[in-house]
């Protein structure tokens, strides 16, 4: 049985304009010790998925339908006291802004101790300090810096401390929401390696959310590409990046600047992604799609299988199966 299985999940936000769907019929599975990346642009619903998995959706959000099964338990129906047993202990999150995730008035080791004591009130002092040392070792913070306050840490060290905190209770699943977006490239490189090695060492399931496809590519084994609340393509890292099939994935890859693809850059003609009302079933991407000439406007896309692990969500099976060249 998989560690996490999400079926048909839809989440909406109650706004002045009515119910807006942020996440639309999402399904995915995550095996134990596996890593799954969500990539998409701002507003595509990737953070909403992370928040739903942590039970931290804001008040105006509502899970409209679907199930989130985690270790055989349905998370959607949990009450807040039940969530507190799960959150931090079994599912932990690495937030984007490490500077804001730490409390400035307590030393860092105290904050990590707090996370452990909350879930294991009976732990002995020796076990606790042993565990803290292990955690600092794991994320490569020198033990001498353990009792420092957050402001004495650099940005990268704070992010490591937040990773240590997420790992404190040996969770089965870690959700990392844009963990390196606030860091510059050199520190980002270190933190990504850190997350990857720690994840492999501890065999924790990892959901990694980012807008940066190259960052996702460097961490995750499997990728889901999201557009306007829907997963439009899913596959292994190799499948998605080597032979992207969905026009949106191709657009995204074609406009990503890296040092070795300057001649292949295609400037897309992207419209803003549409706001979705609850009853929308047609293709969300048809307005910006470079392949369909708007023929698909109003049509309902379906899942098309390219291989057992690689699928795309499109109205045009022929197009997807042909692959029509690499980006």
């Amino acid at each position: 049985m998989s560690l996490l299985s999400v079926e048909n999940l839809s989440i909406g936000y109650q706004t002045k304009k009515g119910m807006l769907k942020a996440v639309d019929h999402i399904r995915f599975d995550l095996e134990e010790g596996d890593s799954l990346g969500f990539v998409g642009e701002s507003g595509c619903g990737k953070t909403t998925i992370g928040m739903a998995l942590m039970g931290l959706l804001p008040e105006n959000a509502e899970i409209l339908e679907g199930r989130i099964r985690f270790q055989g338990r349905d998370l959607v129906s949990l009450t807040e006291p039940q969530w507190r047993q799960v959150r931090g202990a079994k599912v932990a999150m690495i937030f984007q802004a490490a500077m804001n995730a730490l409390n400035p008035v307590f030393p860092v080791d105290e904050q990590i101790k707090e996370a452990i004591v909350t879930h294991q009130p009976d732990i002995s002092d020796t076990d606790l300090s042993e565990r803290i040392k292990q955690l600092f070792d794991l994320v490569d913070i020198p033990l001498a810096r353990m009792k420092n306050y957050p402001h004495e840490y650099s940005g990268g060290m704070k992010q490591r401390a937040v990773i240590a905190m997420a790992l404190a209770c040996n969770p089965a699943l870690i959700i990392a929401d844009e963990p390196t977006t606030a860091l510059d490239v050199i520190v980002q490189d270190q933190i990504l390696r850190e997350i990857k090695t720690v994840q492999q060492k501890t065999r924790t399931g990892l959901i990694f959310i980012s807008h940066d496809i190259a960052v996702v590519a460097s961490v995750c084994e499997r990728i889901c590409v999201m557009y306007a609340g829907q997963i439009v393509e899913t596959g292994t890292r190799k499948e998605v990046f080597k032979s992207p099939r969905h026009p949106y994935t191709q657009t995204l890859l074609g406009s990503y600047l890296s040092l070795d693809n300057l001649n292949d850059i295609k400037v897309p003609d992207m419209k803003e992604s549409p706001d979705q009302l609850t009853d929308a079933t047609e293709c969300q991407f048809s307005g910006s799609c470079p392949s369909c000439d708007r023929k698909c406007a109003g049509m309902s896309p379906e899942w098309i299988e390219i291989s057992p692990t690689h699928q795309a969500f499109c109205c045009n099976p022929g197009l997807i199966r042909r692959g029509h060249g690499k980006t």
Binding site: I186, S218, D269, M270
Partner: protein
């Protein structure tokens, strides 16, 4: 820079420029050393080029941009614009300088005044510089909005920043910067807040603007790939020192300074790439 003919072509020149920020005075703290944001840097930007300044956070790249836009003054050294030293500019001369040098800021959510409509935002530089009549100004605004891809311009005039997306706001900021047709534009991380598909469209727009008006750009970024895509020459800045200047291609293919090599090594790319 020894040859006089290349020197003539320089639009902007920084000579031994140092910028130090004095630490805040606190009652009980011991006085600490000033922070050196720029340490005696020399830099020359030629007419009509896009010059890239690449570095990590805290390296001094934004400070350089702010000095050039004369939002701040150097602690030591001198900046020459078209062979004129800019540190002594005051009054009308400074106002004239502002019409020739414009800046595009990083965060389009903060750099636009939420109380001003798009037309008012783009109109303001023209009013301040007293260019044209009311009618010709408005024409110019609409034309500029069309030019930056907010077309039809009339449709955007009466909207406010909160009604626009991040990419559209940055286009407004670009319109505001180019409406005076300045000679030199400082673009400080203009796309770091935007998605990749939007960023690449803005890069294309900036290149078109450069072609149309023949402007010179200082393009400040932390993204080496973006700098290579956009720029003719690139300078790498590290802890207030310029460590390497070269053409964009050379700096990527034949980096000399260890810091540049490190930057290239950590650029994200695709392990299973094309």
């Amino acid at each position: 820079m020894e040859k006089p003919d290349t020197k003539n072509r320089l639009l902007v020149e920084l000579k031994q420029v140092t910028k130090a920020y004095a630490p805040q005075k606190r009652w009980f703290a011991r006085s600490s050393q000033p922070v050196l944001a720029l340490n005696s840097i020399d830099l020359g930007i030629e007419h009509g080029e896009i010059f890239g300044l690449v570095g990590q956070s805290g390296s001094g790249k934004t400070t350089t941009g702010r000095l050039l836009a004369k939002l701040e003054s150097p602690t030591a050294g001198e900046i020459y614009f078209d062979k004129t030293p800019i540190s002594q500019l005051k009054g009308l001369h400074l106002k004239a300088y502002r019409s020739r040098v414009q800046m595009i800021f990083q965060d389009p959510y903060q750099s636009l005044n939420p109380h001003l409509s798009i037309a008012e935002t783009v109109l303001e530089p023209l009013m301040v510089q007293q260019i044209g009549t009311a009618d010709t100004r408005m024409e110019k605004v609409v034309h500029t909005l069309d030019l930056v891809g907010l077309s039809p311009g009339e449709a955007f005039c009466h909207r406010y920043p909160h009604q626009l997306s991040g990419g559209q706001r940055q286009r407004v900021a670009i319109a505001r910067a180019i409406v005076l047709e300045p000679q030199f534009i400082v673009a400080d991380e203009p796309t770091s807040m935007l998605d990749a598909t939007i960023a690449i469209q803005l890069f294309k727009l900036l290149q078109e603007i450069k072609q149309t008006f023949g402007m010179t750009f200082l393009f400040i970024t932390h993204n080496l790939a973006a700098a290579r895509y956009m720029c003719d020459r690139i300078a790498v800045i590290h802890e207030g020192h310029i460590v390497e200047v070269n053409t964009a291609d050379n700096i990527i293919r034949h980096p000399e300074h260890p810091y540049t090599k490190k930057l290239i090594k950590v650029q994200p790319g695709f392990k299973y790439g094309r």
